[in-house]
């Protein structure tokens, strides 16, 4: 009973509020960036509505403004967004029986890092209603933020827009810290991933690794180490 309530459309909407809010400043700065690069405001909004991904859109924008080839565009998106494939596999194990082919195809459209993290770290299976609730506000926030940034980017005080940049990371911390306090496996996975991520960023030998690939490497290495040392039987098989 309690479980149903936590798996309803309303519960999804509620969990989507911080994601949607967190997206506002990020998509806002994307909107500004696009217009500054000579992309019409409407095109910027179209990009956000059809892509819903920050790193991929910023990279795509650079290619667009440079007049890059379509193959370059496709390859770049593939590399940067390959982490979504990894997340998709993990999420595929969490969806309940209500997800037939059509619903899987629909939800995939909005599989962002944040939506994945919230849905995949949820206890038990994820219902269709919850998933659609969860992705609704982030989609609106991402679109609206882009529009506002594109048409009114200069209106928000610099001090506020830069402070808003941390919102999305605050949300990440809220997702990882409580389970990391309770389960040593989660703590190990998080610390290892953060350590590898820093190594890739700061050790010169790894400077050729893009952020998208870095996420894949950290995700696989840290999760594998945690799975070896702390098999998550109880949590993973409880459903």
């Amino acid at each position: 009973m309690n479980k149903d309530k936590n798996n309803s459309f309303g519960a999804g909407v509620r969990d989507g509020i911080p994601i949607g809010l967190g997206y506002l400043p990020v998509s806002f700065s994307f909107g500004i960036m696009a217009v500054n690069g000579g992309i019409p405001a409407l095109a910027a909004v179209l990009i956000s509505m059809t892509n819903l991904t920050s790193a991929g859109q910023v990279a795509g924008l650079a290619i667009l403004t440079a007049g890059g080839a379509f193959t370059e565009m496709a390859l770049t998106q593939l590399v940067i967004n390959l982490r979504y494939a990894l997340m998709g596999i993990a999420l595929s194990q969490k969806l309940d029986k209500g997800f037939n082919l059509l619903h899987r195809m629909l939800c995939a459209f909005c599989l962002t890092d944040e939506i994945f993290a919230v849905a995949a770290s949820k206890e038990g299976e994820v219902s269709r209603g919850y998933m659609y609730g969860l992705l609704s506000l982030p989609y609106v926030g991402w679109t609206l933020g882009t529009l506002l940034g594109a048409v009114a980017g200069e209106l928000l005080p610099e001090r506020i827009s830069s402070a808003l940049g941390i919102a999305i990371y605050g949300m990440f911390i809220a997702i990882i810290v409580p389970p990391a306090c309770k389960q040593r496996g989660v703590l190990l996975a998080v610390l290892l991933a953060a350590g590898i991520s820093c190594a890739i960023e700061y050790v010169p030998v790894f400077s050729g690794i893009t952020q998208g690939f870095a996420v894949i490497i950290c995700g696989i290495a840290a999760s594998a180490a945690a799975a070896l040392l702390f098999p998550a039987d109880k949590e993973a098989e409880e459903e």
């Binding site: 509020i17 911080p18 994601i19 967190g22 019409p40 990009i47 059809t50 991929g56 795509g60 667009l64 007049g67 379509f70 565009m73 998106q77 979504y84 494939a85 990894l86 997340m87 998709g88 596999i89 595929s92 194990q93 195809m105 459209f109 599989l111 770290s121 001090r159 830069s162 402070a163 808003l164 940049g165 941390i166 919102a167 990371y169 605050g170 949300m171 990440f172 911390i173 809220a174 990882i176 810290v177 989660v186 996975a189 998080v190 290892l192 991933a193 953060a194 590898i196 870095a214 995700g219 290495a221 840290a222 999760s223 594998a224 945690a226 799975a227 998550a232 039987d233 949590e235 993973a236």
Partner: protein, 104 residues
């Protein structure tokens, strides 16, 4: 090629590539994975991915290392106490904003 046609096709290529990467695994992996190791790994995956995306990037998120570090600390304090996602996110923003008045 006409500029707006180029723009339109580019956006289409971009969107289609991104969508296929997201959609195929969700559609292909419909059976429950049996291996205990793989299941454990997938269980830890969201936390690893988020850990890697947060550190070190959070320290660059506000344009000032100091305000970001204070925001990070505020988020840690609030999340250890088990506050909701939105509370923790807003606490980090508020801490960064207030710190900005002193150091910026």
């Amino acid at each position: 090629m006409n500029q707006s046609i180029y723009l339109f096709i580019s956006v289409l290529v971009m969107a289609l590539t991104t969508y296929l990467i997201r959609m195929l695994p969700l559609v292909v992996f419909r059976r429950r994975i049996k291996s205990r190791f793989l299941r454990s790994m997938l269980y830890y995956m969201p936390y690893s991915v988020l850990g890697a995306m947060t550190v070190p990037w959070i320290f660059y998120s506000t344009g000032s290392f100091v305000t970001a570090a204070v925001g990070f600390a505020a988020a840690l304090v609030f999340s250890v106490r088990g506050r909701s996602l939105i509370t923790v996110a807003l606490a980090a923003v508020a801490a960064a904003l207030i710190t900005g008045f002193f150091v910026g």
